[in-house]
């Protein structure tokens, strides 16, 4: 019983972080209608941002989310105008190729500069007891950070003018333009925010687990599963999908070998695609 409780708590904590990693991917898909294959690379960049801010300025990851987000947001907006804009509205293959090449460039340069030796950020915080389960304090802070980021994204999308414009463009780009929305600015901002959130997820993950420049790939793959589970295009569906995935991983592995769990996750993905392809919270 105690083990099950531990599995549920750790599963929910991890699920929230998975969810946050997937939110950005889903936002970009929802608004720009492109599948961003450089998502994992930006998660990894977030990890290294947190690492170096911790190493050189002593900033703990929960503070460094702000500078990391701002920098990646700007990079995202620039990338949109330099690269993504050229392939908007073209076939899927063009958008896949361009985001994949961005990923290759980042990972290639990252391997050269950072090597693939594992890094970790060690914050000497003690564990906190919840019922009878000991949870590292960093994970609990990570949970709150993920909740705060999601809440801020909600406020942005539903309470600000730009957020409403983002939703308008995502629903009908042409109609939004007729209403005076500069769609390229909105698309660029959305892309920037999408990868910015990916980088925040990277910062949060780096505060819990060791990482290399290649670590983003794992979370990118999970993000795809999560997006399909939660509903493609709906950022908040991603949080639900993340929580489901975290719980499934954690509870199932109590009884079956951990190595088999990803297999079950992908079966879940296939089943979801067959039965309810729009996902739990997706729009048809």
């Amino acid at each position: 019983m105690e083990a099950l409780l531990a599995a549920i708590i750790t599963g929910l904590l991890l699920g929230m972080v998975y969810g946050l990693a997937a939110v950005g991917l889903n936002l970009i898909f929802g608004v720009l209608k492109i599948i961003n294959l450089s998502h994992g690379a930006f998660i990894a960049l977030g990890m290294f941002g947190a690492y170096y801010l911790f190493q050189y300025f002593g900033l703990i990851p929960f503070v460094s989310v702000i500078p990391v987000f701002v920098v990646i947001l700007i990079i995202g907006i620039l990338l949109y105008f330099i690269a993504i804009r050229r392939v908007m509205g073209r076939q899927e293959l063009s958008t896949l190729l361009i985001t994949y090449s961005i990923s290759l460039i980042i990972v290639g340069l990252g391997t050269f500069f950072f090597t693939t030796n594992p890094r970790s950020i060690d914050i000497p915080w003690e564990s906190i007891r919840i019922f009878s389960v000991y949870i590292p304090a960093t994970r609990i802070v990570a949970l709150f950070l993920a909740i705060i980021c999601t809440f801020l994204l909600y406020l942005f999308l539903y309470k600000t003018w730009i957020g409403k414009a983002v939703r308008a463009v995502s629903m009908n780009r042409v109609a939004a333009e007729y209403m005076g929305v500069n769609s390229h600015v909105i698309l660029a901002t959305s892309f920037g925010i999408g990868i910015g959130i990916a980088a925040i997820a990277g910062v949060v993950i780096a505060s819990i687990f060791p990482f290399t420049i290649l670590s983003g790939g794992v979370y990118e793959l999970k993000s795809f599963v999560i997006c399909v589970l939660g509903g493609l295009g709906n950022p908040f569906g991603a949080i639900a999908g993340g929580l489901i995935l975290g719980l499934v991983e954690s509870v199932l592995s109590l009884k079956i070998p951990v190595g088999i769990v990803p297999f079950i996750e992908f079966i879940l993905l296939v089943l979801m695609l067959l039965v309810k392809p729009e996902g739990i919270f997706g729009r048809r």
Binding site: E2, A6, A7, L14, S120, D122, P124, S127, S250, V258
Partner: protein, 416 residues
């Protein structure tokens, strides 16, 4: 005219042969991983070899009785890029182009397994360092000699430690990285635990590169074992130790491969405390002439203190030498001893000397299997270190076996 020409030709050939046979050095060939994932360990091993080169050449070389003189040692080596394919090409090159007299293996079981095939094909003696695999030695090779204690005896001491610490202990959990080496070691440890009447409640592998052990730890906590053993390499072992501590896994013994024996393990702070690890060698081991006498075997080569001093002169970072470097020097000493005993550079004679060898050096006892697992190490024993607090600082101290210990073994439970 023709006679004179023939005479010239004969004289010329005789001269040429004479030149090529006038040996002025012993060529020792090997590859090291200057680049790639094995770089760090391979570099340490190389430092050990450099120390041997200095040790032997300042004495004027190795005395070869059949030549009536001392021959200096000359290294020929290449960068294998941590890749099996490169090892295969380069060992052939070392033998055929560079005419190496003897070979030393690259670092890691995987690369050594490849180099062993080439060495065996050309009947060249190769001393295998940095490789603890047993499987290299069940293939019938007759020229490969291992310096490390093999995987089959690598973690068995952890079970003995558990029994010594808590005679009523009954359950062990084994969690290991899914690589050849860790799997071999952990299977052997499992069999040993079962033979000692312990129950192995968990025996499960994790993929290389795993960073989240929460699922394993949830499982371990529900099974309540007395010891957690396993691990694989540095990064995963360090993370596993950290997460075991964070989630307060109360067991008597935590013993992990590789990671805790690396000084950087202390980066995880308190989580490192009371974690134990097997090691091939540690500074502080009590191998000396007296110990050799006790076992009634000869002592050979420099002392532990000399090695540590020389290592610090080369390394300059101030860190203590580890077993990778120690094995490098040990391989050189074993080869030197075998050549001196054989009195010739002839491979068969040196091989015979290695077969008969039973000697103690600063690295410990060295003796080779001559039976079914020809060339496998049977003399050398693992030592166990534990991270303890000494004067408020984390330090790794030798705690096992009892005859070599610097400090008493402490239960991991003391953390909580």
């Amino acid at each position: 005219m023709r006679r004179i020409l023939t005479l010239f030709l004969v004289l010329f050939l005789a001269f040429a042969i004479g030149v090529s046979y006038a040996k002025d050095s012993i060529i020792v060939g090997f590859t090291m991983s200057k680049t790639g994932k094995l770089n760090a360990e391979s570099d340490e091993q190389f430092k050990g070899l450099k120390i041997w080169e200095k040790y032997v050449n300042t004495q004027g070389g190795i005395y070869v009785k059949s030549l009536g003189k001392k021959l200096p040692v000359k290294f020929v080596y290449y960068d294998d890029e941590s890749s099996k394919e490169r090892v295969q090409q380069l060992y052939a090159r070392l033998i055929l182009n560079d005419k190496a007299d003897f070979l030393i293996s690259p670092y890691s079981s995987e690369l050594t397994a490849t180099a062993a095939i080439v060495a065996e094909q050309h009947k060249k003696i190769m001393l295998a360092i940095g490789s603890a695999s047993d499987s290299i030695f069940n293939k019938g090779y007759r020229h490969i000699f291992q310096l490390y204690t093999p995987a089959s005896r690598y973690l068995t001491g952890a079970i003995d430690m558990l029994k010594a610490l808590n005679p009523r202990a009954s359950k062990v959990a084994i969690v290991y990285e899914q690589t050849n080496f860790a799997t071999d070691v952990c299977k052997a440890a499992r069999d040993y635990a079962l033979s000692k009447g312990l129950k192995v409640v968990l025996f499960e592998g994790y993929a290389p590169g795993t960073t989240d052990f929460t699922s394993f730890i949830n499982k371990i906590k529900s099974l309540q074992p007395d010891a957690v053993i396993g691990g694989g390499h540095f990064a995963d072992g360090q993370t596993l130790a950290k997460q075991l501590y964070e989630q307060r896994v109360k067991v008597d013994v935590v013993s992990l491969l590789v990671a805790p024996s690396v000084p950087e393990f202390a980066q995880i702070g308190k989580a490192a405390l009371y974690v134990t690890a097997p090691s091939q060698w540690e500074n502080g081991v009590k191998y000396n002439e007296k110990a050799a006498k006790k076992l009634n075997i000869p002592w050979y080569g420099p002392s532990v203190a000399w090695f540590v001093k020389e290592y610090k002169a080369i390394d300059r970072s101030g860190k203590e030498p580890g077993y990778h470097a120690a094995a490098g020097l040990a391989a050189g000493l074993v080869l030197q001893r075998a050549i001196e005993t054989a009195g010739t550079l002839d491979a068969n004679a040196v091989k015979a000397a290695l077969e008969k060898m039973d000697v103690m050096t600063f690295y410990g006892r060295v003796k080779f299997d001559t039976g079914r697992f020809y060339g496998r190490q049977i003399g050398h024993e693992m030592v166990y270190l534990q991270w303890q607090l000494k004067g408020g600082k984390l330090e790794k101290l030798l705690v096992w076996p009892p005859e070599a210990k610097e400090a008493n073994l402490i239960s991991y439970k003391k953390n909580f």
